[in-house]
Structures are given as C-alpha cells and as structure tokens.
C-alpha cells in the first residue's frame, strides 16, 4: 500500500493537471462468521472474508478541493473496490493503481465543476476550508483474531431458537449470532501509517407476529461484545428468548394507541436512542456547513441547547459502561485520526461539534469522528454518546414525579417507553425538521395506582428544539443501547448511553400499518419438533 501510494502520488503530482495534494488509502478487512436458526432448525451458516479498498484523492488546495460541499450534493469518489484478502503484492498494487486512477479522474472533473460553481453562486455563509491539517499518525498494532466456535454456536442457536415453538401465535422468529473480525489498514501522503482493528460479536433474538387488525408486530433483543467469548451464556439468552416471546404475545393482545400528548418517562435505552436521533445527528460537523441542511445548532456554539443539568459526551475511546461493552468504540477513525472523548454539551451549553477533517467555521480540526462504511465517503458521525445528568433521582422517585406531573396536567394517563427499535430524523432543510422514534414497548401509566397497561402502534413524533426543553429530570442509572447507525457514509457501529428521562410533554401518533389479515390457516403443527 505504501509503495503504491508513494508511486501514484509522485507521478500524479508531477504529471497530472489538476495535481492532487493529498492521497489516502484505507483497506477494511472483514472476517465474518454467522449462524442463525428458527424453531430448532438452522437457516444459515456462513463465513466470508473480504478486503475492500477506499481511495481518497484530493485535488486543488485544502481551501478549495474536490470534496467541497455544494448544496447537499454528495460527492462520491471511492467505490470500496474488492481487494484480494491474501497478501499478494501484485494483485494489491494493481487494484490500487486502477482505483487511484478512477478516483483521480472523478476528483479532477468535480474540482473543475466546483470552481465554475464558486464563481456563479453567491458566497456561502461558512467560508472555512475543505480539509484540515492534522498530525500524521503511525501505529501498527498486531492484528488479533478471536476464534469463533461455529460448531458450538450452531448447537446453541438451534437449541435456543426451539424455545419459540412454545408460542404458536408467533409467526416467525430467529436466534442468530454474528461475529466480524475487522482490521483496517490506513496510509496517507502525509506519512500516516496505521493498522488497527476490533471484533464485533452479536446475538440477535427476534420474533414477528401479526395482530388481528393486520398490524405487524416485532420484538427483539440483542447482545454485543467485541469478542465472541464475551457474549452471554445460554441461560441469559434463553431468558431473552422468553422475554421476546412473552412481550410479543402481550403486544398481540394489547389495545392500539390513541394520539396523545402528555408527560412520559423514557427508559434509559429509549432515552439513549432519543438523544442519538434528535440530538446526535444535529451536532455532526459537516451538517453545519451544508447549505441544504437545517443547521439546528450551527450558530449555537457557546449557547445553551439542553437543560443545564445535562451534559453530552461522545467518547469513542470508552469500551464499557457498567460492565456492558459498547459498540461504538474505535482507536482511529477512517481518516486516521486518533479517537478521543469530545464534550459536546457541558451543563447544557453547546461546546463542540463532532468533527471529521472537514473544518467548519470556528472548528478547524478533526476530533476523530470521521467515519464510514467501506465504499462510502467519510463524514462526521457519532461514536459512543454518553448523557450525564446533575438532576438524577432514583428510578422510583422519577416514577413518582411522573405521576405528579400527570396529575398536575390533569391527564388521564402518562406514558412509559420501555424499549424502542430506533428512529429517523430529518436534518435537511427541505421537509420538516422533525424526528420519529419507533417504540416497541409502550405502557400507559395511570395516576390512580392501576397497573401499567401495554399499548401498541405508537410512534413518538416531535421537533428537536421543542423537545429538549421539556426534559424535567433523569434517573441515576445509565443504560446502554448498542446498534448500527445509517447515514450518508453508510452504516457504522454506535452506542448511546443515557439514564431514564422524564419529559413534561411528548406526542405520539398512530403508526401506519398493514391491511393484511393474519394467515388464513392456523399454525401447521401444534406439537413440537419431530
């Protein structure tokens, strides 16, 4: 890689017009294993190994180059080309050469367009450069390869998935385990030379059913660890299978939610997703300079954006919280910048944005959040989001506060969001600056001491600025939500950690649902496996 980088960069610099000023190669090696089962029968058992190459060529100058953002237009130069996974220099060099040529042509073409555009359009608000200067990094860590015991896991998922046979009302279900050993190799023309990696092990338990009115219902639980050895034992997963099945069964019988606005508690996991969607995506640096973006917080640096008892830290260097492994940690980002904690909100005041090497007004440097999935261009992305609270009360007290709030507002009930699948948020200027979080388990909480009542089909909707002001207090126990986040630069592993939060008002709406009836014939075999 280094040899080919040097050779291509030298020749391009001397012969090409426009000449590149920066060249970087990132190779992502993925060693994947996975096995899944349903009702005691294996449905998939596979493994694969691959390497993909991402090329970054910058032509022009750091002030104005081919990556310059033009009104929401997404520049795409890299292709994530497949590369041999064997250490065969001829094959590697040849592919790097071809990809460099391909990316260079696109880069040169776009720079010429941008230069023309810059002369035609009105001056952009944010006149910051296109590329920051960073210190080169050099570190080659020995690659670790954890073993994935395929045989053992095959037997385990077979056994664990068979437990769903006890629930004939569940239409489909699965228990899957995946392990991906990832190694990244990074070199650039500034002298960076890195090799680093980590593993991603995951157990996914999921089940789906259809209510009599056609609504599709799903429940799931996941476990994450960086090493397959860190995944839980059978007893713990078995409990998860039971919870997933029982919750789904309860949802099938639960009444449909009605539109409602009133006080609610988000469990720590639900609050974590809430912050990731509603807050996290709006502090991603590149959005602040894109004129097509909503720029909710662009001019808020130094101003309060959250209640003063809340702080938000993004810490990709943190590997665990309360014994639970985080999915969003890494040692270097995809631009070879070392991971570090970034306090984005301190006591309610916005201090920083998540930065890649694309500077924005007032923030000239990367803070190690330039991330991507192979084949996509890097943008600023979230890592491990940590919400810290100075108004933390025990869970029981928080619940009592909710009841007080329900009474104060004279509402029939409040809501408790126990678990959510994820959400979507629109940060663009076209369309409404709104978010939607999709809860799985929502309970009505009555002020008169009646037991909580599960409801289904509720989506949380709102607008970001209005929602933050309504956070009243938090619990004292952080919970972890591990997942994968999809955005411009593809899917990246992330975590969000938050205590439960009490909000004085939240709005839910009815979820759109399928009109199909449940299956016409009953489950074909009511008695167990043959």
């Amino acid at each position: 890689m280094s040899e080919e980088l040097h050779r291509n960069f030298t020749v391009l610099r001397s012969k090409a017009d426009p000449a590149p000023y920066f060249l970087a190669y990132e190779v992502t090696e993925e060693d994947f294993h996975g096995v899944s089962a349903t009702l005691g029968a294996v449905t998939g058992n596979g493994q694969s190994k691959s390497r993909r190459l991402d090329v970054c060529v910058r032509v022009g100058t750091p002030q104005l180059d081919n990556y310059h953002r033009v009104r929401g237009e997404r520049a795409q130069f890299t292709s994530g080309a497949p590369l041999t996974f064997e250490d065969q220099p001829a094959a590697i060099k040849h592919r790097i050469w071809l990809e460099t040529d391909r990316a260079y042509r696109l880069a040169a073409q776009r720079l010429i367009k941008i230069r023309t555009n810059a002369e035609v359009k009105v001056a952009e608000e944010d006149a910051s450069s296109d590329f920051s200067s960073e210190e080169p990094a050099e570190r080659v860590a020995a690659t670790r390869h954890a073993q994935f015991p395929t045989g053992q896991w095959t037997a385990r998922v077979r056994k664990l998935s068979a437990k769903f046979s006890d629930y004939p009302e569940i239409l489909t279900s699965s228990v899957a385990v995946l392990y991906e050993d990832e190694t990244k190799y990074f070199v650039n023309s500034e002298g960076s030379r890195l090799q680093f990696g980590r593993g991603f092990a995951r157990v996914i338990v999921s089940a789906q059913a259809k209510a009599m009115d056609g609504a599709d219902l799903e429940t799931n639980e996941t476990f994450e660890a960086s090493d397959p050895g860190g995944l839980p034992g059978d007893a713990e997963i078995s409990h998860a299978v039971d919870r997933v099945a029982r919750n789904l069964k309860a949802l099938l019988l639960a009444p449909e939610a009605e539109p409602f606005a009133g006080p609610a508690i988000f469990s720590g996991r639900a609050a974590a997703v809430f912050f990731h969607e509603i807050f996290g995506h709006r502090v991603e640096g590149h959005r602040q300079k894109d004129e097509a973006e909503g720029q909710t917080f662009t001019k808020s640096a130094g101003s309060p954006v959250l209640p003063d008892f809340l702080s938000v830290i993004f810490d990709p260097a943190r590997k665990k919280v309360g014994g639970i492994e985080l999915n969003g940690w890494y040692t270097y980002d995809d631009e070879g910048v070392a991971a570090r904690p970034v306090t984005v909100v301190d006591d309610g005041v916005l201090k920083a944005f998540l930065m890649s090497r694309s500077p924005i007004s007032g923030f000239d440097h990367s803070n190690g959040h330039g991330r991507r999935q192979p084949g996509y261009e890097v943008v600023a992305r979230q890592s491990n989001l940590l919400v810290e609270s100075k108004r933390a009360v025990p869970g029981a007290r928080l619940r009592a506060m909710l009841i007080e709030e329900i009474k104060r507002q004279n509402k029939a009930y409040g809501l408790y969001f126990e678990d959510v699948t994820g959400g979507v948020t629109n940060t663009g200027r076209q369309g409404v600056q709104a978010f939607k979080v999709v809860p799985i388990l929502v309970y009505k909480v009555y002020p008169d001491g009646r037991p909580d009542e599960l409801i289904r089909g509720a989506d949380i909707v709102g607008t970001p600025l209005a929602s933050f002001g309504k956070i009243v207090a938090t619990s004292d126990k952080p919970e972890v939500f591990n997942g994968y986040c999809g955005a411009e630069s593809g899917s990246v592993p992330v975590s969000a950690v938050s205590p439960a939060i009490l909000v004085s008002e939240i709005e839910i709406e009815k979820r759109s649902k399928s009109q199909d009836r449940p299956p016409l014939l009953p489950f074909p075999t009511q008695t167990g496996v043959e």
């Binding site: 050779r7 291509n8 020749v11 391009l12 012969k15 090409a16 899944s36 349903t38 009702l39 005691g40 029968a41 294996v42 449905t43 998939g44 058992n45 596979g46 493994q47 694969s48 190994k49 691959s50 497949p82 590369l83 041999t84 996974f85 064997e86 250490d87 065969q88 220099p89 001829a90 094959a91 590697i92 060099k93 040849h94 592919r95 790097i96 050469w97 071809l98 040529d101 042509r105 077979r158 046979s165 239409l171 489909t172 789906q208 259809k210 599709d216 799903e218 399928s514 009109q515 199909d516 009836r517 299956p519 016409l520 014939l521 489950f523 074909p524 075999t525 167990g528 496996v529 043959e530």
Partner: protein, 585 residues
Amino acid sequence: MRRLKCVPLVALIASIALAQTSGDTLLRAMRDELERSRGLKMLALEAPYFIEYTIEDADSFEAAATLGGLLSVRHDRFRVPEINVRVGDPKFDNTDYLGSPHAGAHYDIARFPIENSYEALRRDLWLATDSAYKGAVEAIARKRAALKNIAVSEPLDDFAPAPPLKKVLEIRHVPLDEDAWSARVRSLSAIFEAYPALRASSVEVHAVASAHYYMNSEGTEVRIPEHLIFLLARAEAQAPDGMLLHDAVVFHALDFGRMPSEAELRRGVTALAADVTAVAGAPRGDEYTGPVLFEGRAAAQLFAEVLGGNLALTRRPVADPGRSNFLTRVSELQGRQGARILPEWMDVVDDPAQKEWQGRPLFGSYEVDREGMAPVPLTLVEKGVLKTFLLTRQPMPGFAGSNGRARLPGAFGANAGAISNLFVRASETSPAPELKRKLIEICKQRGKPYGVLVRRLDFPSSASVAEIRRLLGENRQDGGHMVSSPVLAYRIYPDGREELVRDLRFRGLDARSLKDILAAGDDNNVFEFLNNDAPLALIGGASFVAESSVIAPSVLVDDLDLRPGEEELPKLPVVPPPDLETGPK
C-alpha cells in the same frame, strides 16, 4: 372380493411411495402443507385451483481470484422456495396480468431452514403459501377490473394442462475439493501477470450441488439431483487510443468430475490473455457490407443467440388501462410457423434427452422442466421451415400445450421457454476451409478489398453492467434488437491473409439474416453456455440460468452490415501500471 383385492393394492402402492421418500422430511413437509393449502379460502373468494412448490436445496461454492490473490471464497448452504398459487380456472386466472405489484401479506421468512425440521419447514411453507394465495386473490380481482375497460381480441387460456409426473430420484452428491479449486483459481489468475497490457483480469469458479424439489396440486412430485460447475475467466485491456476491450472464457460441466483438465484450463486462460492483448493492439475496423464467415465457435454462438433466443414466445399481459404495456423481448419469429427461416438444406432439433454427443457430455440436457414436465426431442426447423416453438404451460396463439421447455422464470406468473441441446444440421456442406475460399471469391466478384471472418462473438456478453446499459440505450434509439458484437473479427484479403481488427458491431443482424446463409461447413462446433433472461444473456446478469449447448457448422452469411462504435473513449491512466514482477511468486 374385488374390494378386498383393491385394498392391499392401494396399501402396497402407498408403502412403495413411502419407502421411496421416507426420510425426506422436506418432501413430506411440502406434500402435507400443499395438501392442507387446497383448503385455503378467504371469505367469499375462490379457493386455489393450482398450487406448486419448488425448492432448490443447494450447496454452493464460489472462489474468485485476481493476479494470484484470492478475492473471495464462499460456501453457502441454502434452500430457495418458490411458491405459486393460481386462483380462478385454467381459462382465466390471476397470472398474465401487469398491474401494480400486489401488497400481499409479507412475512419475515428471510431464510428457509436448511435443516430438516418438519415443524420449521411446514411453518415457512404455510406462511409463503398464505402470502402467495392472498396475492393471487388480489391480482385476479384487479385483472377482472382491468378487463372491464379493455377489449381482448382473441382470448387465450391462461394455463395449459399437463400430465402428472412422479420422478423421485435419489440424491447423492459428489463432494467437491474446495481447497483444490481455490488453489486452481488462484494459480490460473496468475497467468495474467505475464500480460502487462491487460488492465483488469479475474478468474472465478462456481459450483452448485443441489436437489431440485417440485410438487404441484395435480399430483406431480419431482426430486432430482443437479450439479453445475463452471470456471469463468475475464480479461480487459486498453488500446493505445483508450478503447476498453474485454473478453471472457467459460468452462462448464454438469458433473464435478468432468471439468476439463488443468492443462486445458491453463490453455484456455492463456489464449484469452493473448487474444485480448492482440485485440487491443489491432487496428479499428471500418464500415463493411457483404458476406461474413462465422467460423467455429462463432457459428454456434450466432445460432445460440439469433435463432435460440427467438424460439420462445411471450404473451402481452392484461394491463391496467393507461399503463404502458410493452414486452422487453418479443420473438422475431412470432407467427412465422410454416414459413422458411433457414435454407431448405438445414434442420434444427432441440434435444434435452440426449446426454452425450460424440463421446462428449452435452451441457443442455435435463430431465424435468420448471413445470414438472419431462421434455422430448423437438424438431423446430425442418428443411428450413419453422415447425414449432419452445413451449411452456402458458398457451400461445396456435399452440395449446407445453412441450416441456419451461427452463427460466418468465414474466407475470409464467415461465419462459429456452433451448437445451440445439443441433443445427446442414445436409449440403462444404469442407470448412472451402468456406474461406468462397468468401474471398464473392468479395473478388463484387470488387471488395476484403471479406470479414468472425471467430468469436461476445455471447453471452462479458460486458460490464454499465456497458450493457449504454448499449441498451443506443439500441433503443436505433429501434433495433440488440445483438452481440464480434470479439475476434478479421479482414480476409484476396491473397488469404488475415488481419485482426477491433471494435466492429453488427447493424441489423437478426433472425431474418439466417435466410441469407450461403453455405455451411462440414464441421460441428459445440458451444456451451449459461442462458439467462438478461440482455445478451449477460454473464452473471440474472440468478436463474439454463444450461445450454449448441452444435452447429461454420456458416457463410451474405449481406451483413458491420460498423465501428461511436462512443467517446476513456483516457489512458496518468500513472503507468505497477511492475507486477516485484511481488513474490
């Protein structure tokens, strides 16, 4: 007495059937769920009149390499179910209708169990049948509504009858030495290192051992072992003017043990590297009208594409009013049965039952088609006259029943006909070298400076998807059928000298051109390929393939037009290629 006699007989038959298939949980789960699904009925709506289950139970292996390094190695075990339900009756059912895609009921059956758990198999078949039934009920309602607004001139039935077939064969798979194939692919890909003019190259092997299960509500029950292995090598070079040129070579077998020897594979890959290098260094061809000699493999490719591709018929579906209703491909021979389409000294037979020819296994043989029909040999062209087509259970104007040629999935609930082993025979032949002399003679008579000889066509196409898209666009503008281009084309001068030229394309080459065959050689060229429904049967262009072969003599065809391409050429890379010899071997 009769009754008593009868009972043991029935019991005996039942016990034989059980003995054949007991132990096959998959077959049992299919049979039981299919039987139960006959009772599907929604409110006042009709019950299914036909249900079919197809399951491909496959074990696949793939390995790919470039320049001596493996790119990917994959082993997959999977079962792919395909479930079709027809409601209405054979005269009018839910198929052959182009409407908005029905919502159906969607269940999350991402992966079908690969283990034989009766419960899990039944569960997935149950949900898939439920979904297919609901889709069928919705489609027939919409089709009826659409027909209220359109007049159909000649209504055809929607489904032709077929006799039930029981063919449950033992599944015995030959193991594949995956490590040996990975090593072979790696070592074959290293051959290209010696050809620095090549810009890109790859070698890949695909092997699938599967059990094909088919069952329908008419009593057909099929279980057949199937094997397919093929090795594909691709190469691309850039000419000094920037033009990109590519070609591929593929070796196939229906039996893992009958692939060509390693030496033969090496020869084939080396020839590919040398040919592509030579083509990139050749001058560009120019406009030409006149006789073209298709020699060797090119002749079989010509028949595979221009004749074979037009022997299946398609129907224009019932469409919602106002919806554009065009077919991507209509046979050029549609409606021409009884007409002469080849010289009267030529015959064409499609024979899927024949397994070997002159000691060589035939690649297009099969036992049962996608609709559970056993095919029989078929004379398609007799003394130059078109007799029949490759038919499925979808009735066509003038043809009511299937002849067992449903080999690929078709559109709107139908299957598509495709060739198997296509024998193109000539009763008047000349020794093959004589054809070249004839070509020169004609050119001399007409005062042409040279004639054109084609030794290889790019069929099935080895183009990139981007290139195919561009060709499709160009063709739409020309309003013509897209046809493959020559890869190896030569100018033949009056003194017999051959000059390789690049970048020639046919203009107006179609099924009618075959009437202008002037002469055929006494040679028999075998060409094997994987047919699919992608344009130019693009290699890897579709997931369903039909193994096919064509056996044909070289042919001299009169009055063909060739012209060079007109598109803009890419630039040469700024940086010269890396020196590949530096790496360890």
